[in-house]
């Protein structure tokens, strides 16, 4: 595998807790862009960003349209919009209909990121209560990316990791506390 250029993370119920654990364990020297899609149900992700920023040693910001994807930075999909990555690595937003009842949808982010980074991408599916992310992870693997799924028994809500395993399979299926060390190992030179 090519050295990864980006990490995409998807989650819903139980997601913020899982994200805190993963981001808290990431090495601050990681050069990769870290993109997050979390179904929150709130109108903004301002609070989520604050929460994650307290746990993360990488800076955390809300992803903005037309902005270039930043390495070494956690970028969170805004509430109410799908987040897509263009091939030239800037962000596009869309208000197209919900996918899997969700907007932002993990499938939408993962599929566009997979097309942009191909085999230089790691996709991570964490705790969540629906099947969003499963198709996206499948597409990500098809294009050569590496898939990590939180082991369902370590997830607050297991439906999302279970659906991902069933539909996409995984290169690594590990408990929550093993995900950050694995990412550090895969991402640092």
């Amino acid at each position: 595998m090519t050295r990864p250029a980006a990490i995409v993370l998807g989650c819903s119920a139980g997601g913020p807790e899982a994200l805190k654990a993963v981001l808290g364990g990431l090495d601050p020297r990681l050069p990769q862009a870290v993109l997050v899609c979390c179904h929150t149900g709130s109108e903004t992700v301002e609070l989520l960003c604050e929460l994650l920023a307290r746990a993360s040693r990488l800076p955390v910001i809300e992803a903005a349209e037309r902005e270039t994807v930043r390495g070494g930075t956690v970028q969170v999909a805004p509430a109410g919009y799908h987040l897509l990555v263009e091939r030239d690595l800037h962000f596009t937003l869309s208000t197209d209909p919900r996918v899997n009842l969700a907007r932002p949808s993990i499938d939408v982010l993962f599929a566009s990121a997979a097309a942009a980074w191909r085999d230089a991408l790691i996709g991570v599916v964490l705790s969540g209560a629906n099947a969003d992310g499963a198709d996206g992870l499948r597409e990500l693997r098809r294009l050569g990316g590496c898939a990590i799924v939180q082991s369902p028994d370590s997830a607050l809500a297991s439906a999302m990791p279970q659906a991902a395993l069933a539909r996409a399979g995984a290169d690594h299926c590990v408990p929550l506390d093993a995900i950050a060390p694995l990412l550090n190992q895969l991402c640092l030179p």
Binding site: A64, R66, P97
Partner: protein, 286 residues
């Protein structure tokens, strides 16, 4: 082709050919749309109207002109909600309409009205501010199908609860149900809200200025455009607005800072509401 990343290259060619066919066959140019969201929409159309490949869709586009309206609908602005982002409608109600009241006649342009949810929201704001009678609203969209839906003003009833909450959060003084009736699982907006609304086709990628407006609303449309088309649209809005007129964009949109600074002053930058400054459109033309 059996290599997956080869599929992507192939699909890229197919998308280019689709855009080229749309432009040359029907005169609609999607070449300046943001590629990632355009590809998603074209893929969905290819699923809905063919065997799933963009090539097959392009074949139908070329040989079945009757399909065009459905394709344009799938490629234009998606449906919105009434009073989506209530804080924006509250700001329009509290900060913008009182200033608009100083003009004897109001022209308002909503660009990319989709199914009309925000047009009716705006009409209700104007009614409640006592400004509707002197207002002329132009609601435009690329898609004739979308305009038909907007003209009907009929929506699925399941949206009603959220829309009522939005209306109240936007400072609504009555109840949303005063403006609509519910029947057969559908919500029908009061036709009187349409009496000063003109629905018309307009393409931001090709068409020009057609009115002199005191307010232009264009929310979550520019997010689908690449930079050059975003610039073209902003210039169109600038040239359509009278001096002191207002522009309202989508909450997460990032309009070109240089263009904004030259021609607009923020009213509430966080809510993407701006006011036209500098010479009026008529004065800047040679």
């Amino acid at each position: 082709m059996d290599h997956p990343t080869g599929d992507l290259e192939l699909e890229g060619i197919e998308l280019d050919l689709f855009v080229e066919a749309m432009r040359r066959r029907h005169g609609y140019d999607f070449g300046q749309y943001a590629p990632a969201s355009l590809l998603r929409r074209v893929r969905q159309l290819a699923q809905r109207h063919g065997d799933g490949t963009i090539s097959a869709l392009t074949h139908r586009l070329l040989h079945e002109p009757a399909l065009l309206p459905q394709l344009l609908e799938g490629l234009s602005v998606p449906a919105s909600d009434m009073f989506r982002d209530p804080s924006v409608f509250r700001a329009l109600r509290e900060q913008v309409l009182p200033l608009l009241a100083s003009w004897p006649q109001l022209t308002i342009w909503q660009a990319g009205c989709a199914h009309g949810e925000e047009v009716y929201s705006l009409a209700i704001l104007l009614e409640e501010a006592g400004l509707y009678e002197r207002s002329q609203i132009f609601a435009t969209d690329l898609s004739a199908h979308a305009l038909e839906r907007a003209r009907e003003g009929i929506y699925p009833l399941h949206a009603a609860q959220q829309w009522s909450r939005n209306y109240l959060a936007a400072g609504g003084s009555q109840s949303l149900s005063d403006y609509c009736s519910a029947r057969y699982g559908l919500l029908k907006l009061d036709g009187r809200l349409r009496r000063n609304v003109t629905f018309a086709q307009h393409n931001l990628a090709a068409d020009g200025v057609f009115c002199e407006a005191q307010l232009v609303l264009c929310r979550n449309v520019l997010i689908y455009f690449s930079n050059p088309l975003q610039h073209r649209s902003l210039a169109l809005f600038r040239d359509s607005l009278v001096r002191g007129g207002f522009l309202c964009l989508g909450l997460r949109e990032r309009p070109d800072a240089g263009m904004l600074a030259a021609d607009f002053a923020p009213v509430d930058a966080g809510l993407r509401i701006y006011r036209r400054i500098g010479p009026a459109a008529a004065e800047r033309r040679p």
